[in-house]
């Protein structure tokens, strides 16, 4: 398996008043294509910050992230937008679905974001078909016209996963995807992620729960900003 993601010497700190808090301290690790990696750590250990840096939502103070051999810090703003749109898919703990859009529109959002209005008119039929197939796969075929507030927590997270997969990204980044769900629903979501990984999807998941982390192939344990 080829190396998809490589983090080298990552440093990140935040200022809280006069105090400087070092969140990440010289992290080095890599993720190979097709792996299911779990980043585990206690609350405040810097795991979410690390995930955001890997997905180019945040920048490290020092060090670099390479995606398929290309350094993210060398990307221009437009290239970073394209990277976030096509190469990675995010799944958040609180789903972050747009309340004004229905389920189908939420799932199609990444596809819409990559097209101009005219371009979207041309490819909307194909995109709609793909979005529907994703929703069918996750058991949400009868929910496409519903608004997020009409769904249960588990359904919302499955919609968020479908949205993350809409543009067929190489890497899926999941930040505590089960953190807001009961254990049964959380197991269901983990099952979905495992199934995706079995189909070849590379996944990096952040969790504070060791039992959940055991479902991944590789576990990166963070403590005090370092890999332990």
């Amino acid at each position: 398996m080829s190396e998809m993601l490589k983090a080298s010497g990552l440093f990140k700190s935040y200022k809280m008043g006069q105090t400087k808090i070092e969140v990440l301290k010289c992290l080095d690790f890599s993720v190979r294509a097709g792996q299911f990696v779990a980043i585990v750590g206690a609350s405040g250990s810097g795991k979410s910050t690390l995930l955001h840096i890997l997905g180019a939502l945040d920048e490290p103070d020092a060090g670099s992230v390479q995606f398929e051999g290309k350094r993210l810090d060398k990307f221009r703003a437009g290239e970073l937008n394209r990277f976030r749109n096509k190469m990675v898919g995010f799944v958040f703990q609180f789903y972050h679905l747009l309340d004004e859009l229905n389920v189908l529109e939420n799932v199609m959002l990444p596809a819409m974001a990559q097209s101009s209005t005219i371009g979207w008119l041309r490819r909307r039929i194909g995109a709609k078909k793909h979005a529907k197939s994703l929703l069918e796969r996750f058991g949400l075929a009868d929910r496409i016209g519903h608004k997020p507030y009409q769904l249960s927590g588990g359904e919302r997270q499955r919609v968020a996963i479908a949205r993350a997969l809409m543009n067929k990204p190489a890497l899926l980044l999941a930040d505590e995807p089960t953190g807001n769900l009961d254990s049964e629903t959380g197991n269901g979501i983990l099952g979905v992620l495992e199934e995706l990984n079995n189909d070849g999807q590379t996944i990096v998941m952040v969790t504070h729960d060791d039992r959940i982390a055991q479902r991944a192939h590789n576990v990166i344990r963070l403590a005090d900003g370092k890999i332990v």
Partner: protein, 450 residues
């Protein structure tokens, strides 16, 4: 597509948006109504100033007048761009109503009624001689008497509740005496010793209602020859105070005035060595708005003040939109973070919120303009209803010389107001949008997770 869907949904789903729409609609409504009414009043006022003067006026401020006006009139009458031209004698005098002890200082205009009515819209201001203005100085109760037309407010006349003047079917016999100082061409009093003034008994034959208080309360119109005698301007070399000219259709005011000025320059130069040539030096050629500048300018100043006030109203609208958008966007930080996480650029986020603002502006402007137009269409009916029910009039007709409240909607003005409203909405939303687009997704999404 989401660039249209999302702003439309924000617009429809966020109740706070209605506040911004109402703010825009109210501002547009007020501006449309007040601008239409004020513009109407100003243009009506200007029109009234034009009613009793020609398009172009060749005149002198001197009470002595200027000579050779007949020669210049002949030249004017030959011009294809001149439809009518008529001389006017102007001066001041005292008007006395014998037996009443009432006397007032007045402005006197000596006119040739037929010619003056051709060069101006004076006939429309008359009451009894609208159809036959050449007989304006013929009292119907005794055609042999010397008649005069007086400003409508100079004769005590009652009005109805709506402000309309009562007129009897025939003009009343009212005897008046006019007294003037006759002046020589050099400006000296024409008569010596005790006989310094000219007095003449005249009879009311009609009244003129121009709608301008200063004119209707101070102006007396006399036959041209009579006024010339009273002011000492008749004689071997008769003098006039002004020539009023009406241009032929298709002649622009600027072109016509320019041509008359050129003609006057040549005319005055040709008589530079003649007797009374010095009187020609003070003669000016003016368009009617310039001639009536002192009357029109204050109204135009008021209009300018009103535009400034509306500018301030526009700033308030921008501020309201700014506050509303600031609130909306502060509630939408999660969406901004989510959009950025799926690769939406900063510029597109600004575009999304500006589209939202444009919708607020367009719908607000549409509602405001619609309500404004509806209100204007019914404004006179509403005023009539208020007057009939409560005796209340928006503009007291005994003070304001208007018939109906002007409600002629100028579509180009409406379009400008609506476009300005949309721009104001965009301006109000711009800063919050730019600020929102600059938010780092990681901060927004993490904060929302706490």
């Amino acid at each position: 597509m989401y660039k249209l869907i999302l702003p439309t949904r924000y617009f429809l789903k966020r109740r706070i948006t209605y506040l911004a729409v109402v703010a825009v609609a109210l501002c547009v409504f007020i501006v449309v109504v007040v601008m239409t009414v004020m513009n109407g009043l100003v243009s009506e006022f200007k029109g009234k100033n034009h009613d009793f003067v020609g398009d172009c006026i060749v005149s002198t401020e001197s009470l002595v007048g200027f000579a050779y006006y007949e020669d210049f009139l002949k030249q004017l009458e030959k011009q294809e761009f001149v439809q009518a031209a008529t001389p006017v004698v102007k001066g001041f005098g005292l008007l006395t109503q014998p037996g009443t002890g009432r006397n007032i200082g007045v402005e006197i205009m000596g006119i040739e009624p037929a010619g003056f009515c051709e060069a101006t819209k004076f006939a429309q201001t008359l009451y009894y001689h609208k159809e036959n203005p050449s007989d304006a100085f013929t009292p119907t109760y005794n055609p042999t008497l010397a008649g005069c037309v007086v400003g409508i407010d100079m004769i005590s006349r009652s009005r109805d509740r709506s402000g309309k003047y009562y007129h009897s079917s025939e003009p009343m016999r009212i005897e008046l005496m006019v007294t003037c100082f006759p002046l020589t061409a050099k400006g000296a009093l024409a008569k010596a010793a005790t006989d310094l003034v000219n007095s003449k008994t005249i009879y009311y034959s009609d009244d003129s209602h121009t709608g301008l208080v200063k004119v209707d309360a101070r102006m007396v119109y006399l036959p041209f020859e009579l006024a010339g005698e009273l002011f000492g301007m008749a004689g071997a070399t008769p003098r006039a105070s002004a020539i009023h000219i009406k241009f032929a259709d298709g002649t622009s005011l600027k072109t016509g005035v320019g041509r008359v000025a050129k003609m006057w320059k040549v005319f005055a130069a040709a008589r530079a060595n003649q007797k009374y040539a010095n009187l020609l030096k003070n003669v000016t050629v003016q368009s009617w708005p310039d001639y009536r500048r002192s009357s029109i300018a204050p109204m135009e100043k008021e209009q300018m003040m009103l535009i400034l006030l509306f500018g301030m109203l526009g700033i308030i609208t921008v501020f309201i939109i700014f506050v509303v958008f600031y609130m909306i966007i502060s509630h939408k930080t999660k969406d901004i973070g989510t959009l950025k996480s799926v690769g939406v650029s900063r510029a597109v986020i600004v575009q999304l919120f500006l589209t939202f603002a444009a919708l607020v502006g367009l719908v607000g402007a549409g509602i405001g303009a619609g309500a404004g137009c509806g209100f204007l269409v019914k404004i006179n009916d509403m005023e009539d209803w208020l007057f009939e029910r409560f005796g209340w009039q928006l503009w007291d007709r005994t003070v304001y010389a208007i018939g109906e409240i002007p409600n002629d909607i100028k579509w180009e003005v409406l379009a400008v107001i609506m476009a300005t409203a949309v721009l104001a909405a965009l301006a109000g939303a711009f800063l919050p949008s730019v600020r929102a687009s600059g938010q780092r997704p990681v901060e927004v999404l993490q904060v929302n997770q706490l």
